[in-house]
C-alpha cells in the first residue's frame, strides 16, 4: 500500500516537472503548430487565436490544475500533433517499446546467465577473460554506431535480417540485440561476482561436504544467491533500456515510445510530453516493483514492509 502511495507521489512529481520544463522551454507551441500547418510563418493574430485553442492563454497553474482534474477522471488530454487523445497515442506505441525492452532484457539474461556462471566456475580462464573484454566493449561502444554495425553485418553483408520497421517478430531482433549489448556485459559481471562470492560461503562448502557435486553446488546453491543482486540490477537496467530505446527506435524506425517522445518534444506537444513522461515513469516504477517482488521470492529474508522500504 505504501509502495503504491509512493507511486502516486512520484508520478505527481514527474508531471509537475514536465509542466514546469514545458513552461521554461523556449518556443511557442502555437506558432510552431501553425507554421507546420500553414507552411509559412503565422501572423500575431493567428498565433493568439491558436494559443486560445490550445489553452495556452491560461496561466501555468490553471493549466496544470485542469490537467490534474482530467487525469483524475482518466483523461490525459488531447495530443496537439496527433489530433486525438494522448492515451490512444500512447496505447498505440507503448506495446512496441515494451516488446523491444523486454526482448532486450531476455536476450541479456539469456546470454549473461550461462556466461557469468561459466566465468565464475573458472575464474581468469578464456571464457572469463573474453566476457570481461566483451563487457568493456559493450559499455563503451555508442549505441548508434553499434546499430549501424549490426545493420551492415546482418542486413547488408549477410542479408539475414530486416534493417528497419516493425511487423513480424524477426523485426525486433536487430534493435533488441543493439539495445541489449551494454546490459549483457553488466549482467555477466554481476552474475560472475555474485556467484564467486557465494561459492566462498559456508553453505556451499557444507553442500559440497554433504556430497553435492560441484555443478549442483554452483547451480542450486551459489547461483540462486547470486541472482538477488542481478534482479536488482536488471530492474534498474530496464529503465536504462527504456532510455536507450529512444536512440535505437530512431535508427531502426521502430514505432515505439522513444521515437514518439522525441517527436513530441520537437513539436512542443505538451499534453503528449507529460503523458509520455508519466507512461515512461510508470513503466520504470512497475519494473522496479517487479524486481523487488522477485528479490523477495528469491530470498525469503527480504520482505517488503513500510519500515523497510
Amino acid at each position: 500500500m505504501f509502495r503504491f502511495a509512493s507511486f502516486g507521489l512520484v508520478l505527481f512529481g514527474v508531471s509537475t516537472l514536465a509542466f514546469a520544463l514545458g513552461a521554461l522551454a523556449p518556443g511557442d507551441p502555437a506558432e510552431l503548430f501553425l507554421e507546420r500547418a500553414l507552411g509559412r510563418p503565422p501572423t500575431e493574430s493567428q498565433i493568439a487565436e491558436q494559443r486560445q485553442v490550445m489553452g495556452l492563454d491560461r496561466t501555468l497553474p490553471r493549466r496544470y490544475a485542469a490537467w490534474l482534474s482530467g487525469l483524475l477522471h482518466g483523461d490525459l488530454g488531447q495530443s496537439w500533433g496527433a489530433g486525438r487523445s494522448v492515451a490512444s497515442v500512447l496505447a498505440d506505441n507503448a506495446p512496441q517499446t515494451a516488446v523491444l525492452a523486454v526482448t532486450s532484457l531476455l536476450l541479456s539474461l539469456g546470454v549473461s546467465l550461462p556466461l557469468g556462471v561459466a566465468s565464475a566456475a573458472r575464474p581468469h580462464a578464456t571464457v572469463d577473460r573474453a566476457s570481461r573484454a566483451a563487457a568493456v566493449v559493450g559499455a563503451s561502444i555508442p549505441t548508434f554506431f553499434l546499430g549501424y554495425l549490426m545493420m551492415w553485418i546482418f542486413g547488408v553483408k549477410l542479408g539475414l535480417l530486416p534493417i528497419f520497421g516493425s511487423g513480424s517478430p524477426i523485426y525486433v531482433v536487430l534493435p533488441a540485440l543493439t539495445l541489449s549489448f551494454a546490459t549483457t556485459g553488466v549482467f555477466t559481471r554481476v552474475i560472475r561476482t555474485g556467484t564467486l562470492a557465494a561459492l566462498q560461503e559456508d553453505y556451499v562448502r557444507a553442500a559440497l561436504a554433504r556430497g553435492a557435486s560441484a555443478r549442483a553446488a554452483l547451480i542450486r546453491h551459489a547461483l540462486r544467491n547470486a541472482l538477488i543482486p542481478l534482479i536488482t540490477v536488471a530492474g534498474l537496467a530496464f529503465g536504462q533500456l527504456l532510455g536507450g530505446a529512444v536512440i535505437v527506435e530512431w535508427i531502426f524506425s521502430w514505432p515505439g515510445l522513444g521515437k514518439l517522445g522525441v517527436d513530441a518534444i520537437h513539436n512542443r506537444d505538451y499534453p503528449l510530453i507529460v503523458g509520455w513522461m508519466l507512461c515512461m515513469g510508470l513503466m520504470a516504477m512497475l519494473t522496479n516493483l517487479a524486481a523487488d517482488l522477485a528479490c523477495a521470492w528469491a530470498d525469503p529474508r527480504v520482505r517488503l514492509r513500510p519500515r523497510d522500504a
Binding site: A25, P26, G27, D28, P29, E31, L32, E35, R36, A37, L38, G39, R40, P41, P42, T43, E44, S45, Q46, I47, A82, D92, G147, Y148, M151, W152, G155, V156, G159, P162, I163, F164, G165, S166, W250, I251, F252, S253, P255, K259, D263, I265, H266, N267, R268
Partner: protein
Amino acid sequence: MLRRGVLFHDGRELTADDVKYTFDLIVASYPHNYEELGPGSVRVVDPYTIELRPEKPNARLAEQIAHPIWGVNARGSDPLKPIGTGPFRFVEYAQHNRMVVDRFDGYWNRARTPQAGRLAFRFVPDPQARLLALQAGQLDLVSDVPPQVLDALRDNAALTVIRSAVGTFDALAFNIHGAEPYDIGRDPTLRQAVGLAIDRRALVHAAWHDAADPSTTWIPPQVLGPHRSLVAGPTYDPAGARQLLDRSGWRPGPDGIRTRQGRRLSLAHVVTFPTVDHQEAAEVVQQQLKGVGIETRIELMPDAAVSGARRRSGQFDLMHLTGNQNEPYPCFLPDLQYYSKSAAPSNRWVAPGGRTDAAIEACRSAADIGEARLRAAEVIHQLVDVERVVVPLAGLRRIWAARAAVQGFVAHPSDTNQRWEGVHLVR
C-alpha cells in the same frame, strides 16, 4: 470549368460539389490561408462550373490552385483514407511506418497512367539507416542522401545517384532592425562586406561536396525566367571587403578580428533547425569571414521551436535560413520572409520595407505570370543588390539514390512535390 469524365477512385465522377467540399474543408481548417479564400469564396454554378472569389485581391490564385500540391477530395470521404482523382489510389497508411498506394486504372490522363502497379513508401528517418536499407535491397529508392556519402555511393555499381534541379536555398539574412548588441547588421557597408567576403564556389565544394550550385539569385533562377540577369548578386572580392571595412573604421585587432571604438566585429550567427543541413556551411562561412577580420559565433538551434523563438526575438545578427520554392507564385519566398506588412512576427527584423514592400505588392498584383516573374526579379534585386539584407549562399538539389532496377524516376526540385507516374522496376 471542370473537365468532364474525371473519375474518383471509387468510380464516381468529379463534380463542382466535390470541389466546393474540398475548398470548404481547407478554409475551415486554415481560415487565414495564403490563397485569401474565405467561407463565402466558393460557389457552385453548375455541376461542371465553379466560381472562386478570394476575400482579398489575389492575382496569383489561378496559378496557386493549379499547383500539384492541391487535390480534390470526394465529398464526404474520410481525410485519413482519401478518395481523390489522382493517378494513384490510397490503400493504407500506418503512422511513422508506411503508406501504400496502387495504380488507378481509371485515371483521366491516359498519357500519365502510372507504370508501377503499387508504390509502398516507408518512413525511415535516419539517413544512414536509409542507405543501409537500400544497399541491403530492402528499399529501392531513398530520398535526402547526405552529400558527404556521395563519393562512397559512386563506387557502388548497383546504385544510382539522382539529383534534382536547384529548388532549395541556403542564405544568410541580416538583422537590419536589431537593438544592441544585435545592431551591427544595420550598417549597409558591413552587409556589403560580408557578401564580398564569401567564396561561394569554395563553400559549395567544402560544405556540400559540389552537390549544390553557388547561388546569387537566392530563389531558383528558372523561376525568374528571362529576368534572372536583373539580380547581380555579390561577387567574391575579399580585398574589396577589407577596403570597405577599413573605410568604415573597423580596424584589425591583435587576433585579426576587427574592432571599432572598442567594439569587436563579432556576429551572432544563428543556424536554424535542422542544423545538420547547415552546420558545415556555417563553419566554412565562419572561416571565410575570419579572413577579412569578421568573427561569427555559430549558435545551433536544437529544434524548430527554439529556432522560431530566436528568430522572433531578434536576438541574432545573421540568421542562416533555408527556403524551398514549393509554390508557383514567383515571389513566394520574399513575400513570406521579407514583406514588412505581413504581420508575421518573425519578419520584423529582416524586412526592409519601403521599395521592397512596393515591389512585392507589384508582384502580387501582376497581370500574368510573365510580369510576375519580372517583378520577382526586381524584388530579389532589391533584397540582394540594393538593401543587401540577403546574402545568397547556395542553391541546393534534392539527392536521391536508387537501385539500378529503378527506372523512370525524375527528381523534383521542391521539397514537397514529386511525380511518381513514370517510376517502375526493371527486373
